[in-house]
Symmetry: C2
Subunit: 334 residues, 2 copies
Amino acid sequence: MDTITIKDIARALNLSTSTVSRALRDSYEINPETKRLVIEYAERLDYRPNPIALSLKENRSRVIGVIVPQIANNFFSQVINGIEAIAYNRGYNVIIFQSHESFERELLTVQQAVTRKADGLLISLSSSTSDVSHLRTLQEKKLPIVLFDRVSAELDLPCVTADNFAGAFAATEHLIQTGRRRIAHVTIPPYISITQERLAGYRAALEQYGIPYVESLVQYAGFGQYEVEPIIDDLLSQKPDAFFAASDRLALGCLAALKKRNVAIPETVSLIGFTNTPVADLLAPPMSTVEQPALEIGQTAAEQLIDLIEDKPKKPKPGTVRIPTRLHVRTSTQ
Amino acid sequence: MDTITIKDIARALNLSTSTVSRALRDSYEINPETKRLVIEYAERLDYRPNPIALSLKENRSRVIGVIVPQIANNFFSQVINGIEAIAYNRGYNVIIFQSHESFERELLTVQQAVTRKADGLLISLSSSTSDVSHLRTLQEKKLPIVLFDRVSAELDLPCVTADNFAGAFAATEHLIQTGRRRIAHVTIPPYISITQERLAGYRAALEQYGIPYVESLVQYAGFGQYEVEPIIDDLLSQKPDAFFAASDRLALGCLAALKKRNVAIPETVSLIGFTNTPVADLLAPPMSTVEQPALEIGQTAAEQLIDLIEDKPKKPKPGTVRIPTRLHVRTSTQ
DNA sequence: TTGTAAGCGTTATCAA
DNA sequence: TTGATAACGCTTACAA
């Protein structure tokens, strides 16, 4: 890979590298004729400045580090799509890191991203992260960071999330309005911010409609493949008349488990998940869903981060931005 | 972001930067005592070599450029997962680029990746790419490249794909063995390698079972959201007794279109798609699928690329590696 | 208007 | 065993 550098141009044109550099940056102090010569020659040779040399000089990389629990996940891959779109427009590249829901791995990848000299970080916390001191350290070092989706209130960092409370409220309200009273709530590990927000929305809706909150109807599932099975058994013994699954994966897991048990879903149970794919349209029975604005979360988070990196804090303290969710009601009879 | 450098260590210990550098790389020509001192101090300060400086010096970045048509796609995000796993283990970072199925965008992103000094490229061609001279140029410059999934026979590059021919053959054979005779084949744009391979598998199966190949039963759909609709209308007018959708997206698109038209799917039509998610288990009616080994494709491609980068060509000419697919038969009656 | 030189962080070569 | 110096590609004081 022979690359052409400023030196080559300088040598060929009998100029110094500084003159060439200035000509290429269209400096006012360069003879227009020289400028023309340099620029033409550079174009002919398809010269591209070496971003690594620039990074070293300017102490910044034009790279954004993105840390997600999993790439191979509909929600996160859509978020990354949104991030990438904004980054592309604003001249940044994106390096992806996965924490695989492990705290240790999150520490490592955050460290990696910093070592790699990412100009800023977009992070969605792993489900096993409760201690956030690794981020506090970076915050103190003034590294721009924006949290998204799974955030932490312990850090005074800008956050971008779906409006989980409102989404869960709307979903629960819908179930109540269609006559459900014993709504099982299957959810993800309790550490994560979104778990709490969704649970709060669920409880608020119950309360508003005067329905008692039954603690045993709320069950937490980890990320193992078959973890949902025993939970479903437990819940079924409690005769729920609806299921609220608090994530895509759990919604599908519940459906599969119910199907396996031949539970006559359309008659006795409704499901509301956060599933954000058109797949939900095709499921039997139809599953109403709360659509997560993944793309927009990614875009917003990236915008905020790049503004921060480039020191354009439009608002003094961004705080948490909540992107609205949308409830899609799907019925069996349609 | 104050970073500690070799200079800082040298100054603090009253040594030269070269001594520190050598001590840190455990050079034999350094006094064990000095070595100990340096290493201890470096550890205490949590010193990390600046990879940008290293890149500049060594003229390599330890970055792999990955170019896919779309990140927010089940198949590609799983491939990326596989790539990331291998890259992580072997000390590389991954920069993702999207071509958005556009040839122009592919040119740009390939250029970007090269400018960014990626040590090698993993590429799945966009559906509008028929001219591959941009890759040939890079190939001539000896830049390590491995193609995956959507490859090109015009380039003598290592390729990693699913065994599309065998997969399509098995799927078609299954349909034939369950009594189908008029199997519609809905597929993606014809330029892409996988389209041809899948079509060839389909044809081979028809031929083996003495079923005539009907050209009008083969229809190509682009990537637009509603492109599948008119195609389904056309095909339905030809009274097919099965559908073979050659991609995830098309499989779901077909199901949705058929549902919309109230076609009694379980009685008259079977679908075989390349859908690679457990979601298929939940669809109504059950859709048999050919599972794509996405993770393994990513891993294999990454292994090959890094071997190439590090100049360890285990085999003289890798050629095309085909990872086996798996047919999942799902029936309505189960 | 152009050139010289220093510096970004690191390593390799050569000298001491 | 250690240190001075040049080099990777680029920008920017400062000199000319």
